[in-house]
Amino acid sequence: MNIIEISRLTYVYAAAKENTPALNGINLNIGEGEFVAIVGANGSGKSTLARHLNALLLPTEGTCKVMGLDTARPENLWDIRRQVGLVFQNPDNQLVAAIVEDEVAFGPENLGLPPAEIRLRVDKALQAVGLTEQLHFAPHLLSGGQKQRLAIAGALAMEPKCLVLDEATAMLDPQGREEVMQVARDLREQGLTLICITHFMEEAALADRVVVMHQGKIVAQGTPKEILAATDLAKWGLEPPLATEIADRLRRRGLNLPRGICREDELVATLCP
């Protein structure tokens, strides 16, 4: 079953110059349990698309359906928002509460759940992202990676079907990035649908499917092998993952490597079998 069904979606910001659409005729379906990476240069419309997925923005034209519910219908709004968790880029600007457990409780509190149920969800969500020990910390005392994991926990406490990370790792150091991606992968293992918007091709390489956006359109999609290791990413303003780049150079030096290497572990496995 498809969690997300987008058809002919066009979106024009009210403030946009000359009415250039930020999204232009997007068609995209995402199945339950899928891990999709969305890549694209700055301004290609990735965040605009992400905001359509939980009805923060509504299509100018076309439709966006979440679990079969049309985002344009006001009565679906809260059901959609509880099904799709959204985590943003800046760790400092998306945490509401002054201590960790209240932060996670914020979503369930908004849903009007009974306190005992909220307690259960908070503990479960904090456990899932490995922040149980920091229950009573103030968010500003956490590291960047911990803050983003906390933001993920906040989304998880709503028990969503789908988690959208909009460049959630962009402002983190390599270690923080690794922490967040590890959590994302664990959640994915547990069956959560994961949509990961990223500038890091190494992260995109972990997905089942990579979607490339360029100037408000989807210009390519396929497995990481097909997209990252085979196509000419430069024409969309993107660089291949490091492993692909190294494999390419080695190949040019005459080493006989197979095509389609896009993850570090694949490269290592090929070089040292």
């Binding site: 928002r81 509880r82 500003h140």
Partner: protein, 268 residues
Amino acid sequence: MLNDIALGRYFPGNSLLHRLDPRIKIVLLFLFLAIIFLWVNSLVYLALGSMTAALIFTAKIPLRMVATSLKPLWWIILFTFLLHFFGTEGEGIFQLGSLTATWEGLKQGGLITFRLALLIILSALLTFTTDPLALTDAIESLLSPLKRFGVPAHELAMMMTIALRFIPTIIEETDRIIKAQESRGADFTTGNILTRVKNFVPILVPLFIAAFRRADDLATAMEARCYRGGEGRTRLRRLQLGRLDYTACGVSALIVGGIFLLTQWGII
């Protein structure tokens, strides 16, 4: 430095005062403030003073902090004392120019000073022994009956929570901007007032821009998590009155009743 002001006022602990429901604490505080205002009487003040001292002692608040809480109002206290010392008719102690200090003035001034100090310290005890978050919850809960008269109880509490959350972040950011500007040769410590104020503009501008961006981002993030105001919202932690709270109310009622009767009968 700024951090101390914002967050250094709460002393975690497990004393009676700490365990008291924050709503009860607020209500009783107002009750005692009212008593201090209504009865200008040295015996009443002595009784309430001993009670305050006992509370400070059991809550293990460092005396230094109690003194610090008086500091901002130090001048007002001194001024009030001098006003009474020199302004009251009575038996003179000494002469200062055309002003006469009197014994009656000393007594009156002492009483008023003590009363002011008591008011301030009792109020400070509330923030010393109450987690700011619990205080926020308590304010929301106490104000919520006024909602039907248009008092935005939930919104006020939400604003306080967000302020508590963002004060440290904004302080960190201010620090960062100051360092960034200093590393480019900006100088915030010398020059006359005008130059110094002017030098602060490059700090305030980025700070304000960042604050507005933050507000925008935060609003989006809250909306994405189904926030729709206080209507139908539940809370993780619920304030609940216990034995201790009823006991505290009872004891306070006895104290107030006692004072009332004693003054009625003219004993004190």
